[in-house]
Symmetry: C2
Amino acid sequence: MTVTLADVAARARVSPATVSRVLNGNYPVAAATRERVLRAVAEMDYVLNGPASALAAATSDLVGILVNDIADPFFGIMAGAAQSEIGRPEGSGRAGGAKLAVVCNTGGSPERELTYLTLLQRQRAAAVVITGGALEDPAHIAAMTAKLTRLAQAGTTVVLCGRPPLPAGGPGAPIEAAITFDNRGGGRRLTEHLLALGHRRIGYVAGPPERTTTRHRLEGHRAALRAAGITEDQDRLTRHGPYTRRSGHEATLELLRRDPGLTAVVAANDTVALGACAALRELGLRIPGDISVAGFDDLPFAVDVGPALTTVRLPLAEAGARAGRIAMGREAVPPGGLATMGATLLARASTAAPHD
Amino acid sequence: MTVTLADVAARARVSPATVSRVLNGNYPVAAATRERVLRAVAEMDYVLNGPASALAAATSDLVGILVNDIADPFFGIMAGAAQSEIGRPEGSGRAGGAKLAVVCNTGGSPERELTYLTLLQRQRAAAVVITGGALEDPAHIAAMTAKLTRLAQAGTTVVLCGRPPLPAGGPGAPIEAAITFDNRGGGRRLTEHLLALGHRRIGYVAGPPERTTTRHRLEGHRAALRAAGITEDQDRLTRHGPYTRRSGHEATLELLRRDPGLTAVVAANDTVALGACAALRELGLRIPGDISVAGFDDLPFAVDVGPALTTVRLPLAEAGARAGRIAMGREAVPPGGLATMGATLLARASTAAPHD
DNA sequence: CTGTTAGCGCTTTCAG
DNA sequence: CTGAAAGCGCTAACAG
């Protein structure tokens, strides 16, 4: 029923091989012949059979992008940038190069992460870009390392974006490259900003435990505190939860219950900060008059919430684009396969000196 | 190098056919044999070759989800819900059913929409879910109709989510179903709310022209005005632009320049409303004291901006999930293939009676 | 520059 | 319930 390469070849009065060649543009074909083939393709509305060509060529034009939460712009921005780089036609006016960049939503679940990787392996994906922080569970790290090793063996290029190479400081999975963010430095600078304003009792609403992103941001926070000579037990002033508004809301109430003397709350990211702000408002506290709040990521809405959120900007789009280009082999792999992108403090209206 | 079905068969001492049967679980196999095969699969770390099986079976386990802007939670929420339904294993403990739901970001570009559809057709996708409003350009409608027709002929199920069937009230493309939102009704109720508060001069920051979503929301707005006896030329109080914060910002300034007497601004969606709020604040106007602002969609951040945004809630997750289930044949197609989901007015703090 | 010839790895009748 | 055999539609040497 559907038209095949052979049908096109018959109509163009050439061999199937020739049709394949003009379609893939990777082999010299006489201009006249090419045109005749192209005309036949157009006339017959021919669409290449992806599976068949993938089978024969032992590689497909599918590129997977894994994200933890597709409804979160943090991932959407990275994925969009990566996808647009990957979908971009190759430099010269070639017919090939058109890759199908697809994003897969793991929902933050380690099992689904592995499942998607298997599905992508099954499709013989040309490359895989994995975004967002990783789970630091030994079993999962082992499973991921094994899976990525197999993917690499099968010829799939693996690039991490916003995630450190796995395992953190171990033998390492055979990835092409890793683009990471300076979460630790960003966290440190954010807290230094608060300390400079005069804050001493700072609550911290952390992300889910065992996530690299969570740990690094928290480490930066604590390093700043330590450097300022604040040595008291910080665990009491820290509460872990998912990267959601709701978690920020609950955690803030809880932290304030534990220590009503807090003058500032630092959230694991902007979304969590939104929940913190809401909780504070419900308590009748003014921001930053009564208490300061800070986020992380600088998502587009951060500047619009009331008051504009002090946060740390991460070059999400740039990182995603870079990961996409590396996955396509269009950008040199950074030295050591590792590139860290800066995190910039953005001091806005939600932080101010504590009210004596 | 990589292990094939035949390798597994050899190790399990059965024929390749048998291995295929246990893997697909669609044919009776003796329990003992099945177990032997499964063990061999596990021991050899075998992963099915997707392209080969898709070629042989003439269908793949790929399902595409098209979105206009992956960085926008409006799409992220729908896509996430759809993807999670599609990725969900089938009811019974079957091995099959595991579909690879992938989201494709068109960036709102008609060409890329068509390109992705072709790529998906090339992959012999099992189904395609297209989210978001459609472009009402005759040429694009024709191209889409043709493309969707070919997809359907090739056995791909097409479901629209948040988009009316194409062409609007014409012969219609052969889609399985369309889930739409009551954008018109929502728009009408939102403006009725403003009118009830006493507003008479309302600026409208519309979305991109020629988009169904834009048109329907605007129609609802104008219907409410007409019903209230406001007959003056509304074009002067309307300005089109992309669904971005920046557009909301610029358009609001422009509308206020055209008519400084505006007492309210209605935005095409929450993101645009954010830009409108920012512009108003820069002008030193208080919301809602000096001027009211309303959005549309009720994205998660809407309640957190200052002041909390009056908007219209759309059941995005529910619509996406439903579209996903229909695409998988797990939910009955609604009567006439068309289901409209309600839009609920959410009156919050950003709207109030005009200040005399 | 173009045609011929083998498969790629799997599914699927069709027989047992 | 299981095996044998015939392709699915395309690409990739290899000749010409």
